[in-house]
Amino acid sequence: MVQPLDYIRETASQTAGPYVHIGLAPGAAGFAIFENELGRDIAGPNAAGERIRVEGRVFDGTGAPLRDVLIEVWQANAAGIHASPEDPRHGEVEEGFRGWGRVISDFDTGRFAFETVKPGAVPGRGGKPMAPHLNLWIVARGINIGLSTRMYFSDEPVANAADPVLGLIENPARWPTLIAAREERDGMALYRFDIRLQGVNETVFFDV
């Protein structure tokens, strides 16, 4: 026998279920209950940097779009700083910038869309910068534990090529699953980013 290690164990995940909107986006469930529904505005009014829009869908293994998915976005500001005390530079973040938001897919079409500012490069491990990216966390009915992925930007080819996380992907054919394609619409940068849970072109998901 040896001394016990007195750690306790993480609580197990369970699916967010089909009615996740009640708890996390009640307006979408069809009723107003909170004065302040959290996660509606990722960047806030004062954030520096380029305003962007992201649109996409999340597909299952049959190719059908999920119409009940909820995605959380977590990102740095345009200077690459997170609004979190764990970031040593967090005091420099703009007033009202949280860098976090919630997005749900349309109940009929499965389309999701959100607006934010394009993040800057973020310091990575060993001093290597990480290319600008959004961290995405995906939950829905049928997803037993939230799926983590990243969205990178097609107009950052040099930074993407040097990104230490993209560099971990052994099969280069899977890279494009994490890179959103930029276009312009009505004078605003629009990025298209579809997520495939399974099958051909399955998105790269991370164990973070």
Binding site: D6, E10, Q14, T15, G23, S84, R150, I169, L197
Partner: protein
Amino acid sequence: MTGSEFFQRDRTLHPPALTPNYKTSVKRSPQHALLSLECSMSEMTGPRFGHGDLGPLDNDLIRNYAHGGEPVGERIVVHGRVLDETGRPVPGTLVEFWQANAGGRYRHKKDTYLAPIDPNFGGCGRTLTDAEGRYHFRTVKPGAYPWRNWVNNWRPAHIHFSVFGTGFAQRLITQMYFEGDPLIPHCPILAAIPDREALAQLIAPLDLNASIPLDSLAYKFDIVLRGRRSTLFENRLEGN
């Protein structure tokens, strides 16, 4: 604690992505192995919330959607602590919860179960943990309800929980079940958890000491998030 990494997640206690008896998982489960990432700033940081984000009734589901009356059902208090794997409390973190009403019906436009909507029950709330990681809220006990999986599956009574912690890699959604519920052994969603102790950790015991005499029963539900490494001979993120 700034800048310290999380313990590796023990995925053997979590349900895997593919659990065929929970049918919806079959086509919503990735087939490639997850790509393991060492913590970077993107995972070690996470959003913070304050009391200014919340309303005064947000942790009282008996009153936060009352329209001239109170919801029907067994009145309960749910309380507990949010801890990390070292046993340390996680203070000031956002805890959100949602549930069906006492008849097993959700206030959601996609729920068509024949049990009635309760005009005085919304079914969601949220709160921040205190300095010792404690949280509590008041509600009515949710009912069991049938769902389309096999022809006669019923969800045990449960409350959904969403918890943040201090870094986005701690993000967790789970469900709390009630001690003594005979549906627990029959639920394919619960059975997706491969580890018996991990499953038992989702079942809240009745806590008579926390009940309110002549008013409400109480259940205790502690939530454990991933731990952070101490800084003994730590690899520094910026390089050694």
